[in-house]
């Protein structure tokens, strides 16, 4: 594939004995002339290629020397009054300024200083970069998770859907916790929060696989938009709920930026042993959706 075109005589210059024999059949003079011509051609080719190679290296060296120590000249000085940003005032108007070399966003409004001096306060509601003041919305599809009768050795699963729209907020988190593990009302028996499979136990902030038939408990999985899929890899990954007044709430959904109806499905799993005390087990699970500031 690579290489250079060779003269017709080129094959005779190989060290193959058979081909050497064929050279013997040619007259010495012709052979000598042919060899000289071929040698001349090859030398010429080598010289040319060496020149090209040197030229490339020369170009490289020239570029390095030229551009490394040059003084760039720009047609336009981009420092101009149009780049001065007067922000931090109560929104009256605003807009984006873009060109091939810059992109800025600003708002223009009354001077806050004057208002602060006279009234003694300044109040800014909402965000500068989201110009319309629209509500932050949170919905939960089902607040009553009724498992009915629990069958030992058979997982009971229920789901509900969390949906968040940030509106004029720029980002959000949804956190969760429970008041206590599932327990009999006014009683001590509980269904312990899961620690998932023994091989890789889960924590309140780290989901792992929970499919071992010998591992009992209560936990949750979440799948959908704005969920940490590196943690909740698939629907076999579970976490136990953090406990109110003991643990910090755990983040289940989050986004840095505007969200429009980001939805995630939470799957709740209860798996009990035959030795679990009979009774009605209950608890309260709380979801807290808070916008970023």
């Amino acid at each position: 594939m690579f290489g250079f075109p060779q003269s017709p005589q080129a094959p005779f210059t190989t060290i193959s004995p058979g081909r050497t024999m064929s050279v013997q059949t040619t007259s010495k003079t012709v052979n000598q002339r042919s060899h000289n011509a071929q040698s001349h051609l090859s030398n010429h080719l080598i010289t040319t290629l060496c020149t090209i190679s040197s030229l490339i290296l020369y170009v490289i060296a020239s570029i390095v020397l030229t551009f490394s120590f040059h003084y760039p000249v720009y047609a336009d000085n981009l420092f101009s009054p149009s780049f001065e940003i007067d922000m931090g005032t109560v929104n009256i108007t605003g807009g984006s300024k873009t060109s091939t070399t810059y992109r800025l966003s600003d708002t223009v409004g009354q001077t806050a200083q004057g208002q602060f001096n006279s009234a003694g306060y300044i109040v800014k509601a909402g965000f500068q970069y989201v110009r319309e003041l629209t509500p932050f919305t949170f919905t939960v599809s089902n607040l009553d998770l009724n498992y009915g009768s629990l069958v030992p050795g058979t997982p009971s699963l229920l789901t509900n859907i969390l949906t968040v729209t940030t509106g004029s907020a720029y980002g959000y988190t949804v956190k969760t916790l429970e008041d206590h593990p599932l327990r009999i009302l006014n009683g001590s028996p509980t269904i312990a929060d899961t620690s998932c499979n023994l091989a890789s136990t889960c924590t309140q902030t780290d989901a792992t696989v929970w499919d071992d038939d010998a591992r009992y408990g209560f936990g949750y999985n979440i799948q959908g938009t704005d969920v940490d899929i590196a943690d909740f890899v698939d629907n076999t990954y579970f976490r136990p709920f953090p406990i109110q007044d003991i643990d910090p709430p755990a983040t289940v959904m989050s986004r840095s930026g505007i969200a429009t109806a980001s939805a995630a499905t939470v799957t709740y799993k209860i798996y009990i042993a035959g030795s679990q005390a009979a009774g009605t087990y209950q608890n309260n699970i709380q979801y807290i959706a808070i916008p970023s500031f």
């Binding site: 806050a112 607040l143 807290i288 500031f293």
Partner: protein
Amino acid sequence: MKYTKLLIPLILFLFVTLFPTDTHAASYGVSLTPPLLRVNIKPGKSITQVFTITNLNNEDKLLVARMVPFTQSDDKGNPSIDMKSSPSWLNYFSLANTYIKLGSPFTVKAKSSEQLILTLSVPANAILRDLYGTLLITTYSNVASVAYQGSQVSATIGANLLVTLHSDINPPTILKSGILPNTGAFFKVGNIYLADNITPLSFSASVKNEGNFTSETKGIFKVTGRNDTPAYLEGILPVYVISNTQRILLNTEGRNFSFSPNLSQIGFFKAVIQINSENSHTENSIDIFFFPFKIMAGLIFASIFLTVILRTNKTQKIVDKPIKTLDH
């Protein structure tokens, strides 16, 4: 008669099947506006702000409003609310509604809104400082009333309040910024980043507020050549940085800063993060040497390749010569 006996259960079955009683799982859907309130206030002054709660459900909702403090946030501006803490300054906040009080349940009718008139009254002798809190609106639940086996879910929505108590509108604070190349073709030698100039370079930038008062990330990201001549400018997304926290800086589209140099941009450049907020200023930069490394590498490789081929060719000829001598 025989058919009549069959007909009655059939009619009953059809009636039950075709005209079922409507059953709704209890759900939660609430919106709250505004999601953020930034207040600069002098001690001894009061403000009121209306928060509007909308019940998006088809049934009335019993809700409860309360204020919880926070002192920390993550680098994306998500507060770490402290549900257990109840500092005395929470008493500065109250609701001016006639029938709705903080901590007491109230009803918002189905598909309707309710206004919470939040009042902040700062005592004249209040300490000059920042107060951070979140107004939480929670479904009011009474676990004891649950009759089934399982979990009752309660949902909470919040709005953040960043309050600065000071006699000056812009009490000074200390911001410190940082910038590093994030993705692209680059490597570091000493304090200089050597980067390819046909590969876009993205930067991760952050700012830390080491002072006691909230500041805002107003400023620009720029790439400058010699004599500080700008080659690229981009606005910084203006977000709040509360005291003693750090925030990631993003461009106005919510992404990392990026610069796509062109072939003519070779030599020393600076990537600069410059924040000029009302109460603080910070600037940080890194030196970058842009050079067409990829193109040069290609050319060098081509040269080496050519040289190798030529040398091979030459060697071949030297090997051939003695064989021809033997022929004579």
